[in-house]
């Protein structure tokens, strides 16, 4: 499974790590959907760190499409919030 952290790198993760990745992401999504920023920064940083720690960076000259794309590390809460409603980081 290839995971891209936008603005950073692509990482190759073992498929066995998918559940844990989903779990961490679900936490972030739950916070975003609650609309309250509390805990967003930490939860999101934990998610990205998991990818960096468990993943193997894909070499730059290796052409792969990602299975998962995560927002950049410096994404703001409002960018993420509005991405779930249509605008935000990447406008529709």
């Amino acid at each position: 499974m290839i995971v891209r952290i936008s603005g950073e790198d692509q990482y190759r993760l073992d498929d066995s790590q998918r559940d844990q990745l989903n779990e961490l992401e679900e936490k972030v999504v739950n916070i975003v959907e609650s609309g309250a920023e509390d805990g967003f920064g930490d939860a999101f940083a934990t998610l990205l760190q998991f990818v960096r720690d468990k993943g193997e960076p894909v070499p730059a000259d290796d052409i792969e499409s990602s299975d998962v794309i995560l927002p950049p590390a410096d994404v703001t809460f409002s960018e993420v919030t509005s991405d779930f409603t249509g605008e935000g980081l990447i406008p529709d």
């Binding site: 603005g7 998918r18 989903n22 000259d61 052409i63 499409s65 998962v68 990447i90």
Partner: protein, 256 residues
């Protein structure tokens, strides 16, 4: 693929795919997609140059503000030596504002430096992918039938396209940031030129009223302390001036 991955990723990924669809014309020949990649690489280089320009601009403003700080400090000393405490206070208030602004600029310059590094890194990765694509394209063309080659090269082009979309996104964020900074820098420059420098706190910098009030509260003691320091250096202190920082042994301001 959707459903296997989380919501956040699915949303972002769908958007990136949309970006790619918009950018890709199925009628394009395969060689043209390589040309387009090279063009995009040029855009990234231009984007990096823009960030560097914005950074230099802020650095120039920094050095002009530094000069203002020195000048205002001298003016305050001269005013005090001439017995005009009110004028001295006004100069010190401006100096304080300029110093605060300097700190803000410093943060912005650091931020732009990080943007520059990130973009340079992205450019390097994109260049490596494009180079790999060029080689792969030729190998595929030589090894497969035209129809099969088309499919395989399209796959590779999509992989490079994702990288391009990602670099594009990073560039857009950098541009937005530098534009915000430029607008603010321009406004500061205009205020400075118009002599209404102390209105700087009116500028939108993401601060709210509470921030501003707190800043005012904390700038007042700083101005008082500066004033007391100058007084004591001029031997005018009516009572022992509070010890401020480490500047106690500076020579007294030149009287007239």
């Amino acid at each position: 693929m959707a459903g296997l991955t989380g919501r956040m990723s699915t949303v972002i990924k769908a958007k990136v795919s949309k970006l790619l669809d918009r950018a890709e014309d199925p009628s394009e020949t395969l060689d043209y997609s390589y040309q387009k990649q090279v063009e995009q690489l040029q855009n990234v280089k231009k984007g990096i140059a823009d960030v560097v320009t914005a950074k230099k601009r802020l650095q120039m403003q920094e050095s002009s503000l530094q000069q203002s700080v020195v000048k205002l400090d001298t003016q305050a000393r001269q005013a005090m030596a001439g017995g005009n405490e009110e004028l001295a206070r006004a100069a010190l208030e401006r100096k304080n504002v300029a110093q605060t602004e300097l700190q803000g600029l410093d943060t912005q310059v650091t931020e732009l430096e990080q943007q520059q590094e990130k973009l340079t890194d992205s450019e390097k990765k994109l260049r490596a992918k494009i180079e790999a694509f060029r080689t792969k394209k030729e190998v595929i063309k030589a090894q497969y039938s035209a129809a099969e080659a088309q499919v395989r090269i399209s796959e590779a082009a999509t992989g490079v396209g994702e990288q391009m979309a990602d670099v594009g996104l990073a560039m857009q964020r950098a541009v937005d940031k530098t534009e915000n900074m430029r607008a603010r820098a321009d406004a500061v420059g205009e205020l400075e030129a118009a002599g209404t420098f102390d209105d700087i706190t009116q500028l939108g910098s993401g601060e709210d009223d509470i921030d501003r009030q707190l800043k005012e509260l904390s700038s007042q003691p700083a101005v008082d302390a500066d004033l007391a320091k100058i007084k004591s250096e001029l031997g005018q202190g009516s009572e022992p001036a509070p010890q401020i920082a480490s500047g106690g042994s500076e020579p007294a301001g030149q009287g007239q």
